[in-house]
Structure formats: C-alpha cells, structure tokens
Symmetry: C2
Subunit: 260 residues, 2 copies
DNA sequence: CCTTTCGTTCGGCATTGTCGAACGCCGTTC
DNA sequence: GAACGGCGTTCGACAATGCCGAACGAAAGG
C-alpha cells in the first residue's frame, strides 16, 4: 500500500532532511547530486522554501542552511507536548538527586526520539541531543518502550530496520531480544549495559498514558564505572518512581491498585 | 519581484503554518475552507506530509496535528545556533543574579524571534515562548536590534507591517520611533516601558557579531513595580555586560577599543 | 585571459496536481 | 431502522504546472 504522494512536496521534504543527515550547509549542486534531480528542479523548490523562511542562503558562499521557520514550527510541536510539561520538573529533580544525565524519549515509527535531556553536573559526552532519533534495540529508553508493545508491534519494530551492533554488547539476535524484553517486563525497568556506547550504562522505565499504552520512557545515563551496585539501585528506584509519577499525571491508573 | 514558487510546496507550507496560527488540531474540511482549496487537493498534500511524519492524524477524531519530524528539524536548527550555545550559560547567570526572566532574540525578516528564554523564580506570566515571533517596534529586544540597523533597513522594518498599538504606551508614530532609536544608540540599551504589555518593563541590549552587525539581543523583563530605580540600574548594567561578553565571544571587536 | 564551475533563466513538453463529482462510512435524527 | 447529513476518501479527465536540458552569466582559479 504505497500512498499517493505529491511529488514536489515529497521532494521538498527530501531536501530539508538532507540537512539533518549531512552537513548543515549545502549547495544546489550538492543537493541535485544527492537526490539525482536536475539543478533547475532543485532550484525551484529551494527558492520556494527560502521565500517561506524554511531555508536561508548564505550571501557569501551561496550555500543554503535550514531556516528559522523550522525552529518556530518545531517549538510549536515541542510546546504542545503535554508529557514534556509534566516531566520537566521531575527530570530536574532527578538530575539533582542522581547527578547524572536524564533523558525523556517518545516512540516514533520504529525508533525513539529524545524530547528532553538534562545533563548532570559531571558531564560525560553522550552523543545525544533533544530531537535526535535513536534505535530501540540498544538503548534503555527504546527497550523500556519496546517491552510494553503488542507482539505484532514488537515484531514490526525489530524487523523494520537492521539490528545494528553499536558495540560488542549490542543484542542483534531477535530471539535473544525477545527473551530480554520479557525480563524487562518482569523487572519493570530496562538496563542498557554498554549496548550503544562503550562505558555507558543506563536505566530506563516506561511511562504509561491514560489508556495504559507505553509511548514514552525516561532514563538515567552514567559512565559504567560510576554505576556501581549501590548507586545503580538508587538509579533504578528513582527512575521508576519518577516514571510512575509521570504516568499518574497522564491519567494512568495502575492495574495493580485498581479495586472496584 | 515575485519569486516563482512551486505551488504545491507553497500550499504544503500554508497548511503547516495554519497549525501555528490557529488551533493545534484541524480537519481536512477546516483546512480546505481556510485556504480555499478543494478537499481533494488538501487531502493529497496532507497525506504526503503525514506519510513523511510532518503531520499526524488522530485516529479518533481523524483530525491532524503537527508531526514529530518538525520537532526534529526544529531542534537541528536550534542546536546549530552558535549564539545560543554562547549565551546560554550567561543567561543562566543573569537570571540567578537578577531573579527575573531573561530572553535572547534574533532578527528574522521584519520581526524578532525568541530563541532562548529562562524564567526567573518569581514567575510573572509573560506571554512569550521560545520560537515565538514578536514585533520590533514595541519590545525591548526588537528595539535594541532595530536601533543598530541601516537607515534603509529601519525604514523597511517599520513600514512593512502596521505599527500595532498593544498598549496605550506603544509608539506608533514612525518619526517618534526614529527619534527614540537615536536615544537607544546613545545609551547603548533599549527600554520597553509597558509598550507591549501593561505592567511589564524590559531592558535590552544589542549583540554584535564578528562583522559588527546587530542581529540579536538579550533582555531582562520585570513587572514595572519591581523595576524601581536601584534594580533598574542593576538590570541595565548586567544586561549590557552580558551582551558585550556575548558579542566578544562572537568575534566582535568594539570600535572604541581598537588600537592599531 | 581563458577555462571551469556553479547558480540562474528559459521554453517546450509531458507529467502531475487539481478539481468536481461520486462513493462509503460513520453518527444523528425522526 | 431507514433516511439524512457530514466528512474523509477515491476517481477520472483536463490543463496547468513543474520538470528537464540547454543556454546564459557571473565568479573563481589557473
């Protein structure tokens, strides 16, 4: 079932997304090369995007970069996310208590997107950004969400892309992951033990919405050396507590405490 | 000089921007009505945008809202703004010292866009958001930038739109504003005294880039009652100091201290 | 000064997007 | 429970629109 797309709109999006994947500045030549379109076609679309403020041209190099209008629209989206408003103060508290970086992520298609990030005082450089995508199979936030999807959904999410091994600890066998997800459901939290980056350990907990679905999660990330037994247990407790508080604020009633 | 625009791309942008101006959820009917396009035309464009993640449909109401992809792209733009990285820690410091809300804004077309905002502890509800536009003629950040543009630029920016009076203190006479801008240049800072919102007073200072152009500014906003003589002087001093520190970090060499 | 490279303009052609009409799926009304 | 109305979706025909290649112009490099 391929959707009937408007070609020029589709191409305009292709152009915009080129700036995400590759360099922040691109010339018409580069764009037409990468998309295999004629210069004049690209020129027309680009001028439209520029005219509307979605691209801007550097007057010196004549190259283009993303325009402020995207910043505006992006913030409209960001400000309309209820979960962000609810989670923000809690995340601030977590960072203060744990002194480590905390992430909030939501599920989007077959990946997760970080929607909030607050770095701890002892900054370790994790390569993550608000607005960035991450795979589900090798991140704490991803696995915490994945574990609570339906069987079909899990199947889809794990088979849609390649299970890329980011480190030697990344699980790439689908049956191993499925078994691992069972453990996550039993524990109520997910651990990422150097599965996306060596030396990085994360604890993540699922966030339930008012319908009982999991579409978001929060995590705490620390260098493996700092995540020893004691502080690890503290991380688990605090992250899970925060996650259930956010879930409650979203209107979720835990099935365990429902008594009619 | 009207640019030759690609119609369908232009319309797709019209659709996206409808969500900024009006409600966060719109039906096809509403969109086709507002844009005076046939339902089928809107349908085609919307499905393309949805397919690419720039809109998402609520499965219940069948209405559409802006998609996460815009959040992603918006953050790419936000993270690539050098001025934000430079200014962020200074803004944090300002808020701590002044205990009032601080804004960072950049010029965009004939308006300013807030790119950073940090609220003071004593939160007064100013209706401003990161990513929101504001007029130049009645805001501190706007006037601080406007004062340092070329005569032609000032002319353009003041005549492009209506000089809307937001309060009885808003300056709407172009010659009065021009004279006012001269004062701003003499002082080195701009004051907004209840010109956009009653009871709100702001101090703003221009930020110079490496070429000596002013394309950004920072401001401190406080309820007029709290901006008494003493704290007002403190606000002016601290905002100007921060602005010149940011300017210096951007590579600006003040013409007053240049000695060859 | 010639060459190369890239952005821009132009015009003809066919693809593509557009529109109105019709369909089908709700929810509502009587 | 049948008829209605509203809305999203599909369809088909037409022509407007966007596409391409070629040519132009400007700027940079040798």
């Amino acid at each position: 079932m391929t959707v009937k797309v408007i070609q020029s709109v589709d191409r305009a999006i292709d152009i915009l997304e080129l700036f995400m994947a590759s360099k922040p500045e691109l010339s018409i030549k580069e764009i037409s090369g990468k998309l295999e379109l004629s210069k004049s076609t690209v020129h027309g679309i680009i001028k439209t995007l520029e005219y509307r403020g979605y691209l801007q041209q550097d007057p010196e190099s004549l190259k283009y970069r993303l325009g402020i209008k995207l910043f505006e629209l992006g913030n409209v989206v960001g400000n309309s996310m209820d979960i962000r408003k609810i989670a923000s103060p809690l995340i601030r508290g977590l960072v203060e208590e744990l002194s480590e970086t905390v992430h909030l992520a939501v599920m989007e298609r077959e990946e997760v997107v970080y929607v909030e990030k607050l770095e701890g005082p002892r900054t370790l450089t994790i390569y993550s950004h608000v607005g960035k995508r991450a795979p589900v199979h090798c991140t704490g936030v991803g696995k915490a969400i994945l574990a609570y999807q339906s069987e079909e959904q899990i199947e889809r999410m794990l088979t849609s892309g390649d299970l890329v091994a980011h480190t030697q600890h990344t699980m790439t066998d689908i049956s191993v992951i499925r078994e691992h997800l069972r453990t996550i459901r039993e524990n109520g939290y997910a651990v990422d033990d150097e599965e996306i980056e060596l030396g990085l350990k994360c604890v993540a907990a699922p966030i339930f919405d008012h319908q009982g679905n999991v579409t978001a999660s929060i995590s705490c990330s620390a260098p493996k050396v700092r995540a020893d037994e004691v502080s690890f247990a503290e991380m688990v407790g605090k992250i899970m507590a925060a996650a259930s508080e956010i879930s409650a604020a979203l209107g979720y009633r835990s099935p365990l405490v429902v008594n009619l």
